[in-house]
Amino acid sequence: MGAWNYFVDMFARIRLDWIEFLQDHGLASSLIVFLDSLIGITFLLIFVFTTVIFMIWLERRFVGWLQLRFGPNRCGPFGLLQTVADAIKLMFKEFIMPAKVDKIVHWIAPVVLVFAAIMVFAVIPIGEARLGDRSMGALADLNVGILFIVAIGSLGVFSIFMGGWSSDNKFALLGSMRAIAQLVSYEVPMILAIMGVVLVAGSMQLSNIVDAQYYPFILVQPLGFLIYLLGAIAELNRAPLDQVEAESELTTGYFTEYSGMKFGAFFLGEYINALAVSAIVATLFLSGWKGPGLPFWFWFILKVFIVFIFTMWARFTLIRVRIDQIMAFAWKFLVPLALINIFVTAGEVLIWDKWMSGWEFFPWPFIFLNWAVAALLILAWSRLFFKLGGGRVDVPTVRAGYREGYGAYPPASVS
């Protein structure tokens, strides 16, 4: 069993042994932290980039299957090297910088996106071994890990706005305007949904949240899971909530003026973000790296890809939602439900702590209650939502106002 356990969280244990080895040889602790981070970052980058290359391939094959076509199947076995070929092509392409762009901001924007997306992985635990309070499976198992994720997650918006603003292109500007509105709005329900998990787990440290999940939290937090997933799709700018890119309207939105590897960096950053969000969902709601029988990395990657495939499925089946409908959905649907979810969860945690502490039983009553509450709330609130106009602004009056001033031909002149 010992050998098996060692295998079960191989990386974490190797890292632990390595640190103990350095400590035994009397290295300064600051040097140990530095070396440890360096090795960790290297492995993290390798993991992230190889997974993203695989994800892009998977998405293209999956959508090919969904759309009755083949997808990439020429480069390497099953087209696996297609992404590599694309990356090489992008690197050798000329990067066209339009004349009037804000050069510095234009350069920094894609870097910020990739940087912010990769940072999230620092706190996600993959493995069991611990050194005192900290999990060795994560690069930096912060005690405010959730806060870190939320903070870093919203950095992506800056990148999008920087790209859109500096491009000096109207499509890009419109795209980044939409991005600000949409992403800032969806932060709210996402954070509120995470709060439910934090209440149940009683900690903001991600390794503690995983430890607390002897059953996946999706069972007690179905509503939180749904809200977070929808918020995540909006945060990733993936269809049906991809107003930021909106190919049929804004060509490609905020990165219209990007070409070459900088476009590649935006593309890469988007997929790293998708991987990060899938990893967060897997960690918070699907019990992270835990799972019976098989090694931890298998479970972790399986759960990440299940979430990712769900977002792909939604992306290629549904039609884009209009921007005002997206905003109304966030503020009139997701936020109230998330608030109710927090109250229900807090009440349950209170009951659990006050009267049921020490009881050794699986929380079936809470699971049933929460699923019933989720189903009822979604049904009732959607009725109400549609009665309130279903996310539509009162277009006819807006329309009438505009028609009064601008009825005549030739069209209104604009300076």
Partner: protein, 380 residues
């Protein structure tokens, strides 16, 4: 402390309209078309459609060609439904020169026209969903059936897009023996596929939210702007040249003219799907009657250098996109003195400014897609 509130007149909070050009090269302008839009944030204050980027001077070119040489030009008008254009041109010349078309050829033409209509509507609805923001999925589902239709046309004349299959007085060749069984198989299978599209789109909540009530065109507005085709019928006007000014052998079939009530983008989408079903109805009857016909010629003998008598003629018919008309003037020589084309797409597109003002950018694209245009026909 008193807060100084700065009004619009101070110049600090003043907003400006925002001019943006959609096109001429844009993912959803179906070729080269420019929409100069004036926006207030996301809301459209005004748009100015700019035509003419695909102008090839087909009407002028026709004046220097013989009547037979003009036929391939008509393919390039609306290249999505090229045989419908062929047909109207052929009818115009036949009327001008007084040529009788064999009954067999008339049936063959009807079969082809209805197949063309299905193909065109599949493409129209498919691209409309793309403009709504679907990532190609409904479009590619519809392309699957369009591919079968293109294979059928390929069987006839070796061409998939610009067929040049019809001739003045009939058709260029007879149907090959494997064609009719293939059409029958298609007619049998198609309702199932239409169900499949409906499952994906018809009651989809997002489609309803994006399409119902958007870009409403009342019937009077449609009539005043000479709108025709599915767009007109979606506004509730029951006007279809196949019934109202019947031509070819359309009077021998039983079919309905579906109409919709409100004339929004959703109604235009449903209208096209319902017309596909009606076309299938016509097709099954046409094939049945065609097989009972005695063997005969598929084309009348017409001299290659046709010299129609002096005179002028206007012939119109129900092309998939609306009423398509050809106005030909003959001075008795081998080429028409004047050839004028009334394309449905151009007149349908003129209402877009009326429809779009006050809606959002996303709706602009959705309304634009629901018009179902082809720039080849509009700029000619």
């Amino acid at each position: 402390m008193e807060l100084e509130i700065q009004g619009p007149e101070s110049g600090v909070h003043e907003t400006q309209p925002f001019v943006i050009n959609f096109g001429p090269s844009h993912p959803s302008t179906h070729g080269v078309f420019r929409l100069r839009a004036i926006l207030d944030g996301e809301v459209i204050i005004d748009i100015e459609p700019v035509f003419g980027y695909l102008h090839r001077g087909i009407e002028k070119l026709a004046e220097g060609r013989t009547y037979f040489q003009i036929m391939p030009f008509t393919d390039r008008l609306d290249y999505v439904s090229s045989m419908s254009q062929n047909h109207v041109y052929a009818m115009a010349v036949e009327k001008l020169a007084g040529i009788e078309v064999p009954e067999r050829a008339e049936y063959m033409r009807v079969i082809l026209l209805e197949l063309m209509r299905i193909s065109n509507h599949l493409m129209g609805v498919g691209f409309w969903t793309n403009e709504l923001g679907a990532f190609m999925t409904p479009l590619l589902y519809m392309y699957r059936e369009r591919e079968k239709l293109l294979d059928l046309f390929d069987m006839l004349c070796g061409q998939r897009l610009t067929h040049n299959y019809m001739r003045i007085g009939g058709l260029s060749q007879d149907f090959p023996p494997e064609f009719l069984p293939a059409v029958k198989k298609f007619v049998r299978q198609m309702p199932g596929f239409v169900d499949e599209y409906d499952q994906l789109l018809k009651d989809n909540e997002i489609v309803l939210a994006r399409a119902v009530g958007i870009g409403i065109m009342p019937a009077d507005m449609a009539i005043n702007n000479s709108v025709s085709g599915p767009m007109l019928r979606a506004s509730g006007v029951k006007w279809d040249l196949r019934k109202d000014d019947t031509y070819s052998v359309y009077d021998r079939f039983e079919f309905d003219i579906p109409t919709r009530a409100s004339g929004d983008t959703y109604d235009r989408y449903r209208q096209r799907i319902e017309e596909i079903l009606q076309s299938l109805r016509i097709l099954s009857q046409a094939i049945e009657q065609f097989e009972k016909l005695p063997p005969g010629p598929f084309c009348t003998e017409v001299p290659l250098l046709l010299r129609p008598p002096r005179g002028e003629v206007y012939v119109h018919a129900e092309a998939p996109k609306g009423a398509l008309g050809f106005y030909l003037v003959s001075d008795g020589s081998i080429a028409p003195y004047r050839c004028r084309i009334r394309s449905a797409g151009q007149l349908n597109l003129t209402v877009i400014r009326e429809l779009c003002i006050g809606w959002k950018i996303s709706d602009l694209m959705s309304i634009f897609g629901s018009v179902d245009i082809c720039m080849g026909e509009i700029d000619r």
